[in-house]
């Protein structure tokens, strides 16, 4: 047990409304179903603790001092010159964020939690690095939220994820912001031979703007990446989301799955798979439901450069079919109940290999959003 900083008291002293918001992003103060925890309020790291053998969760500054080689992973997957947001983070003299190191062969099913909470500062910036060494398996649940009374602000985050040979990283990110908050995650993932990267993203509460387009580069044979996104845009929200996979080695595959609902906001759902090696496969699936007038703009791109790649996409945008609602009404559900039941099914993207606790967290976020449909 390495407890660098632990002050759960600070979390418990948060107002009840904020603790509820954090709980919905996956934060468990009691840590019953978590094996490690990192908690940052604005630019202050409140907690880092990890009880799992072979796994370290430490603030980025500590990690860079402790291990000389960590610097090789810093600004490697993401270029500091990518855009103004990465430049902003790169120039910080006092970087904050989390480094997770899963040492060779360490396998833990119970999730590590990373919570980033925006409360008083206008801008929160983080630089995270997750490293799963050969054969390691970890589940990370990242909850990002703002205080219930926070009206305006921005969260800028760079996350670099390295999935080593035969390693597996499942990253589940749940956002719970406010209508005036803008969010700019800049993430990139590198997956080596036989490695698996699973990403789940859930954003179902109002936010001003989310803009992100994480890229996974599959550089080793048999590497797999899968991005699943479940998003709801409420009036005033603009979600410009996408994910990209570069099939850069033989026998690699990628799947990008999105379920998007607008109740008046705008969703741009981008996706790009580049097949540039033999025996590669990729599929993009985007399904959108327009419940109230809003925009869902699906932009799936598949790009192959040789005969040995097989890429496909399917996208559909529309309203709930009337005959589906009436079918359930004929079984005794009211129109509202039938609609909610169909939406619930629409959002039910069961992700194979996802631990039950992570699925439960996603389900809780859906339950919370459902009351607003």
């Amino acid at each position: 047990m390495s407890a660098l900083q632990t002050d759960v008291g600070d979390i418990e002293r948060l107002p009840e409304k904020d603790r509820e918001r954090l709980a919905l992003t996956g934060l468990e103060v009691e840590m019953q179903n978590r094996c490690g925890s990192f908690f940052q309020i604005d630019q202050k790291v409140i907690q880092t603790t990890c009880g799992a053998e072979g796994i370290e969760m430490i603030p980025i500054k500590v990690a860079l001092e402790k291990y000389d080689w960590v610097k090789d992973y810093s600004w490697n997957a993401v270029s500091p010159d990518k855009d103004k947001y990465t430049r902003y983070i790169a120039k910080q003299e006092n970087p904050q964020g989390l480094v997770v190191i899963a040492h060779e062969g360490a396998k833990v099913e119970m999730p590590l939690q990373a919570c980033l909470f925006l409360r008083d500062e206008p801008v929160q910036h983080v630089h995270n690095i997750f490293i799963a060494q050969e054969g390691a398996e970890i589940n990370i649940i990242s909850g990002c939220a703002s205080s219930w009374q926070k009206e305006h602000g921005a969260h800028i985050g760079v996350t670099e994820i390295y999935v080593g040979k035969g390693a597996k990283v499942t990253s589940t990110m749940i956002h719970n912001w406010n209508p005036g908050i803008s969010v700019f995650p800049r993430s990139a993932i590198v997956v080596e031979e036989d490695g698996t990267f699973l990403s789940n993203y859930v954003c179902m509460q109002p936010v001003r703007r989310v803009n992100m387009y994480p890229t996974a580069r599959l550089i080793g044979k048999n590497a797999v990446a899968r991005f699943s996104s479940i998003v709801v845009a409420t009036p005033g929200s603009t979600l410009d989301l996408g994910s990209r996979a570069i099939l850069g080695a033989e026998h690699t595959s990628a799947e990008l799955v999105t379920r998007a609902i607008t109740t008046g906001g705008t969703i741009i759902s981008r996706g790009h798979i580049l097949g540039e090696k033999d025996e590669t496969r990729g599929h993009i699936e985007c399904k959108g439901l327009i419940l109230k007038d809003g925009i869902i703009h699906a932009i799936p791109e598949i790009e192959g450069t040789l005969t040995g790649t097989e890429l496909s996409h399917e996208a559909a945008v529309g309203k709930i079919a009337r005959n589906e609602i009436e079918y359930l009404m004929a079984r005794g559900l009211s129109e509202e109940e039938a609609t909610a039941t169909i939406i619930r099914g629409f959002l039910d993207v069961k992700i194979s290999g996802l631990p039950a606790v992570l699925q439960a967290q996603i389900d809780a976020a859906i339950d919370k959003a459902e009351s607003g449909f």
Binding site: K287, A321, R322, N323, E324, E326, Y327, L328, M329, A330, R331, G332, L333, S334, E335, E337, A338, T341, I342, R344, G345, F346, L347, D348, V349
Partner: protein, 243 residues
């Protein structure tokens, strides 16, 4: 149980049922026959209350309550149930979830009911997605076994079903209609659309009706109607009425 008086129904602005009168008493099962496009499914859907089927005049009274303008789910809760011929496939919605949402039964009870129609492995499947003809029918029967309607409408229960499934379906439908209960105590009623009459191998029907061009042309003994249609076709029914 069900009283339909002078019912006129429009679909897409065109009248397709022209003054239907039908009375189905408690415990009775009626058979509805007629050529394709004669309005049989339209009648069932109008009784269920679907939005595309506009009742322009006439009335439907069920258990003494006028349900002519009642929303679909209230009709269902009052005891009307329907087996769909072409139910929609709903991506993501599990059959088991639907059964839980529409009843107060626990998982064990639902699982036990599913076993009776060999559907226990379909509870975690998206409803009707990739189901075969027989599987759709068994799923419909399972939903009705959970719902337990007092008045059951079946739209061509035989279509797309192989012999083995037909036997299972026939028995289950007979049970839903309480055919094992003595006529005096039987509470369940039914209206069954059939082209082939195979369903009569599994249950007795009390009355038959022939619907042609949106009008009921005749009533009578269901087996006799079936025999006449088999031997002489619906043309005979048309001629018969004109005579």
């Amino acid at each position: 149980m069900l009283d339909i008086s002078d019912l006129h129904v429009e679909v897409d602005g065109t009248e397709t049922l022209h003054g239907i009168n039908l009375h189905i008493g408690q415990g009775e099962t009626h058979i509805l026959m007629g050529p394709n496009g004669s309005g049989k499914s339209t009648l069932l859907k109008a009784i269920m209350g679907f939005g595309d089927y506009t009742i322009t005049s006439g009335s439907i009274v069920f258990k003494g309550t006028d349900i002519t303008r009642m929303p679909i789910h209230e009709r269902a809760r009052l005891g009307i149930g329907m087996m769909f011929q072409h139910p929609p496939a709903i991506s993501g919605l599990k059959l088991g979830k639907l059964l839980t949402a529409t009843s107060h039964l626990g998982n064990d009870a639902i699982e036990a009911l599913a076993q009776t129609v060999n559907m226990e492995h379909f509870l975690t499947r998206d409803i009707n997605v990739g189901f075969s003809g027989g599987e759709i029918k068994r799923s419909e029967v399972l939903q009705l076994k959970v719902q337990q309607p007092d008045f059951l409408m079946l739209d061509e229960p035989e279509s797309g079903v192989d012999l083995e499934n037909m036997s299972l379906m026939g028995k289950e439908i007979a049970n839903l209609l309480e055919k094992d209960v003595h006529i005096v105590n039987r509470r369940k009623s039914g209206l069954i659309i059939t082209h082939t009459g195979y369903i009569l191998d599994y249950l007795e029907a009390d009355q038959g009706h022939v619907l042609i061009d949106g009008r009921i042309r005749c009533h009578g003994n269901p087996r006799e109607i079936l025999r006449v249609v088999k031997e002489k076709g619906y043309g005979e029914c048309l001629r018969c009425k004109q005579m």
